[in-house]
């Protein structure tokens, strides 16, 4: 199914969800910005529809741009071989606390691995997902801070062993 029919279908079932359409870098893949509160609904539609059938979440990555966290979903279809990219964003609180975002694990169960990694490294809490996310725990129990945020400062001492200062990236 081509992109125009996909867009019109989404606009008729979930009006106002698609905020913007752009190209992913210089490639042929299409990227859609979705409103945060309709992400779970859009995910359901594109998986269940027989002509779209995007049922494989290939990658879910997060990055910090300025004061916002941007999530990129790369979804593919086993049946047709097509690919679509979805994007959502959330603001980081000024105090540096945990960010909430809806979870897509009910639609795509393979998202559990990606989401638990992002929860730990960026300080995000994914809501309304399936449980059992503690399979992956990358950091030592009781780690303070979220390492992949831009304002993270390396700890001075861990487990009684001293750790040096990090290099600022302009060196």
């Amino acid at each position: 199914m081509d992109k125009k029919t996909l867009l019109s279908k989404l606009n008729e079932v979930v009006p106002g969800a698609v905020l913007r359409k752009q190209r992913m870098g210089r490639s042929e893949m299409v990227c859609l910005w979705i409103e945060t509160k309709s992400i779970q609904r859009v995910a359901e539609i594109i998986k269940q529809d027989n002509e779209i059938s995007l049922d494989w979440l290939e990658n879910l990555s997060a990055m910090q741009i300025g004061e916002a966290l941007v999530f990129t979903y790369v979804v593919s279809s086993w049946k047709f071989g097509s690919t679509l990219i979805l994007r959502g964003s959330a603001d980081i609180n000024v105090s540096g606390g945990i960010v909430s975002f809806p979870s897509v694990t009910k639609t795509w169960p393979m998202a559990i691995a990606f989401e638990s990694e992002i929860e730990e490294l960026f300080g995000v809490s994914f809501q309304d997902g399936t449980l059992h996310k503690k399979e992956k725990s990358l950091l030592l129990h009781g780690w303070v801070g979220f390492p992949l945020r831009k304002d993270y400062v390396f700890p001075k001492q861990v487990l009684g062993i001293s750790h040096c200062q990090q290099v600022t990236s302009n060196v």
Binding site: M24, E58, N59, P109, I112, K136
Partner: protein, 377 residues
């Protein structure tokens, strides 16, 4: 007289297999509940090999990012380098000369052969065929010698650059490579006699660690593990990159209804057939090697990457490796994220292990070829 089912009931035992254990190929924690010898449920904890590669990539400059991509997983080093270079070249819009593309194919396939041979050696060691393990490691040394002839290092070549490769291959390299390929083809037939068609190995690997095609679909498994269940997905043939477009690739796939569909034996067979496919690709690449430049950027040129992003897929020896590169125009990358293929295998383990015996644990784990250092990054 007495009803034996009353007193022959066993309670479930709990086994905690800790980070360092001879049955595990890499540090991880497994918590198994077993009824005697039969595994009933399993839970897995990973994260012991977390190095913080993604944060280090944001601190170091662009030139150093290739060396860090090597160290994501050392037996599949060239694939991560290739994904990163293709991503940056797409952002800069830098064309790669055809000779450099063929050299990249040669390095990738050599690395694939070396990685599959390591997996076969690990399976042979875990089933007790120690003589076969030594034979396979001896053949792996020949492939590592070839990698050393090209780049100077056996494991982390650091040979690809943005725009091509670091330098041209030396004069006698192509002939030596063809010679090594012929030797390995003969040795593959020796493995048939000693390992693949021996009744002991078939008895040890048959119906062990069954993975259904539905489970492979749900967890997003790719690579030889998925091909052994009948799920066909290979990036080299579906969306060719870096010069694969004019090379014929016959991808091995387990046919539906095969008696070994989805078990450890099929996974080993598929890996050995992939070695034969790689040798075929190497011969075609050597024939079609054009003359020309090896890099479209001089080493002393500054690397300036403008704002942009790219998502690249590469077929690594374990499955689909994805790389999301984001640049904001500065001297260091803004974000580089790798989607590693072994994550699907780790997610599928709690569903694969139940129903197997405790003694088969090492055969299952070594035949699935999980690279823990790329899962933990």
């Amino acid at each position: 007289m007495f009803d034996s089912s009353e007193w022959l009931n066993t309670d479930l035992n709990t086994f905690e297999i800790g980070p360092y254990d001879y049955r595990l190929q890499a540090p991880m924690k497994l918590s198994l509940k077993a009824d005697g010898e039969l595994i009933v449920s399993a839970a897995i904890e990973t994260g012991f090999l977390h190095k913080g590669v993604e944060k280090a990539l944001e601190i170091q400059k662009w030139r150093a990012s290739i060396a860090y991509a090597d160290r994501l997983d050392s037996s599949a080093a060239v694939f991560a380098e290739l994904a990163l270079c293709l991503g940056v070249e797409e952002i800069i819009m830098l064309p790669v000369p055809p000779r450099a593309q063929k050299i990249r194919i040669i390095l990738s396939e050599l690395n694939r052969i070396s990685s599959h041979l390591a997996c076969v050696a690990a399976v042979a060691r875990s089933t007790g065929a120690l003589a076969v393990m030594h034979h396979v490691l001896r053949d792996r040394e020949q492939v590592l010698d070839l990698l050393e002839l090209v780049s100077g290092a056996r494991f982390s070549p650091n040979f690809l650059r943005f725009g091509g490769v670091k330098e041209d291959v030396s004069d006698g390299f192509i002939e030596k490579m063809i010679e090594t390929c012929e030797t390995i083809l003969i040795r593959l037939k020796e493995y048939d006699k000693t390992l693949i068609f021996s009744d002991t190995f078939i008895g040890r690997a048959k119906k062990v660690g069954l993975i259904e095609k539905k489970l492979a679909n749900e967890t997003g498994m790719t690579g030889p593990n998925a091909k052994a269940t009948g799920l066909m997905y290979d990036v080299r043939s579906s969306s060719p990159y870096s010069g694969y477009a004019d090379i014929d690739i016959n991808v091995p796939l387990a046919p539906a209804g095969h008696e070994h569909l989805g078990d450890a034996y099929a996974r080993i067979l598929i890996r050995i057939q992939e070695i034969a496919t790689s040798i075929d690709i190497l011969k075609q690449a050597a024939e079609k090697m054009p003359i020309g430049d090896f890099c479209s950027k001089k080493p002393e040129d500054e690397i300036i990457v403008p704002r942009g992003e790219a998502y690249i897929r590469v077929e690594s020896s374990r499955g689909l490796l994805g790389c999301h590169v984001v640049s904001d125009g500065g001297p260091t990358p803004a974000r580089i994220q790798f989607r590693t293929p072994s994550m699907a295998g780790v997610m599928a383990l709690p569903k694969v292990l139940p129903g197997n015996k405790l003694d088969d644990l090492s055969v299952i784990l070594s035949s699935m070829d999980l690279g823990m250092s790329e899962v933990d990054k």
